[in-house]
Symmetry: none
Subunit: 212 residues, 4 copies
């Protein structure tokens, strides 16, 4: 029956709207200072309803994270473009650009990702949710690993360990993003985020290239 389908859709919509509200509130206030009350108010539902859809405040964060990671993974896969025929360095550039784009479009996710450290996230979220976050994170990195592997195989890159090389690029990009995420640090560096990001990415890629 269509009634049931509509119900389901309504439910999903409600869930999404709560998630969106949580995102906004967490972003504005920070996770700790944010209150479930504000989330409920923002979503225009009662506090009880929030708990109807999510077990706890931390679960809300986890769901937000997962959603973001899924989108990111998709973006990275599209950037890698398995079906296309790209050179390894080109792939890294594309992945790097896609990562930047993602955080440019949805700057909050970066914060949420970083917020995982704190608050005994691991203890307060259902274990399977934690595992999912872990799995998703790994999956994101795996595209970078693949590209580096291709480069090593083709002789374009020279490096001792593929994981290490991929992690270096990843760490660099994250480092730039974090550096630029904070107004204080952005002021210190006094360089345009996009420019620094691009230059850092290029620097690492150049570092990987085999010298002719």
């Amino acid at each position: 029956m269509s009634t049931r389908a509509r119900r389901e859709r309504e439910k999903q919509r409600r869930r999404d709207s709560i998630l969106a509200a949580a995102q906004a509130v967490f972003l504005e206030e920070g996770f700790y200072r944010a209150t479930v009350d504000s989330v409920a108010e923002r979503a225009e539902v009662s506090k009880g309803t929030v708990y109807l859809y999510f077990d706890s405040k931390e679960t809300l964060l986890a769901a937000l994270l997962l959603e973001g990671l899924d989108a990111l993974i998709e973006a990275l896969e599209a950037a890698y473009a398995p079906a296309q025929d790209y050179a390894a360095d080109e792939r890294l550039r594309r992945l790097s650009a896609a990562y930047f784009q993602f955080f440019h479009d949805e700057p909050h996710y970066f914060r949420f990702l970083m917020a995982m450290d704190r608050g005994r996230f691991r203890d307060s979220v259902a274990p399977d949710m934690y595992q999912e976050v872990l799995k998703a994170s790994l999956e994101g990195l795996s595209w970078v690993v693949k590209a580096v592997e291709q480069g090593v195989t083709s002789g374009l890159f020279v490096c001792c360990d593929v994981n290490q090389a991929a992690a270096t690029l990843w760490a660099t990009l994250n480092g730039v993003l974090e550096l630029m995420a904070h107004p204080l640090r952005r002021d210190i560096v006094a360089v345009e985020p996009a420019v620094l990001y691009y230059s850092a990415s290029e620097t690492v890629i150049r570092g990987l290239l085999a010298r002719s």
Copy 2:
């Protein structure tokens, strides 16, 4: 009078012991979960005394930060070794190693530095304290900038913008540290922190080198 001097010294000692207690507690519990009570207890003073020496919990964090930054700046200056005659790439390697050493020896400072983002730090700390943190951070980075400048001048490095290059290295190093700071992420990457740090640092430095 020596009475006065002793008084002063006593006061300083008290302040330091509170700071040390705060450091331990913030590290163990995280800033938000930590309570002023625990800090007071750890420092073996009353809660009121903590407020006698520090305006607020956040001020405590700022003081901790500043202390750490001072130590870091000293370490970086020593690594740069203005009086010595080092090549630019060597200087970068030394700075990079010193940075790693610092966070290896005092892993909490990294956390505190990162914690500055959150919690409306800016709003809840006296403006001059905030300025001081900013100044200190800049000072740290300036040693890296200096080394890059030397490299460009000597023709060892080739890069369009000195600040950019320095920030790239800085961002990379921070990125690795952050990546490795979180157990979850450390698991994902599956590389030894020290190894990744060294390799990332080398990769960036190589990326800066002028091709022969």
Copy 3:
């Protein structure tokens, strides 16, 4: 029409299954900690349905009680055995044994009966339901009163007031049951429940007997 009859039967069955679920849940969790949600879940109906059959959580308790009391009254009547020719002391022994048996078989009812004290039971249950519980309780006691009356008439017992004597036995039995219902108190007394119950019952009956 038979359709109507079936409907009626269905309804009764539903009601019974909710009641059974409530009994189980109240027993396991205690009345206050139990949630209507768990009752509904256990009964495999929706929460709304529970409220369709019962006005409130407290009404559920009252219905449970009434059900239990009805069963108890039947058991007591059977023990008294009006059609048989028993001596008064024998009747008291039989009633006492039946009471014990009842709470042995259905230990929860004792708890429910005791729970009536608390929670403004009187205020939150429909007055007629309260009256019914009262009536049922009286009816149970009346069998004891009858037996004592018989004993006094036959000269076996000597006592000033029949109600008093019956209430004494009743109070004693309840006292033992309550004493033994709580693990803490059971530990304190360090006597087997059945043994204490029997001995207490005998002691009171002996106390009623006219000295020869």
Copy 4:
């Protein structure tokens, strides 16, 4: 210094006033319905202060209980009158009367004692507090046991097991108190509490007496 002593006294007074408030509120509302807010309000302190003196709502109950038990034990000891020369049956009568008197003077304690069953009391109170309650309860009963022992030794009573006999009397008295504690049940029995209590007590004592 007297300052310190006064402080200590003030603290004790505060603690007592909170305890008294809790007693009143728990009595009026029942433990579950009572809120810590009301206790605080009644004691004319802030909610935080209540938690300064007591760890939790349940701890408040335990403290109340313990206080009551201590008073009861004292009353029982006085009734037993170790220094005096009483016959065993007289001692039981005195103990029984003291018990009644106690609950007549402080009717709430009976309720609190009974409330221990519920609410996972054991789990939510510090283990040592639980042990104390247990110990105190045992101590109360021990006076009855002593009196029965004396009776058996002197040949006044005849019974197989001293503990059993003591528990029977205890159970009976508790049973009467409980029976009379509840308005509903009091109505059913239709006998004056004091009268029933006395008669029940006499009945059990008579049941213990060796027949001449």
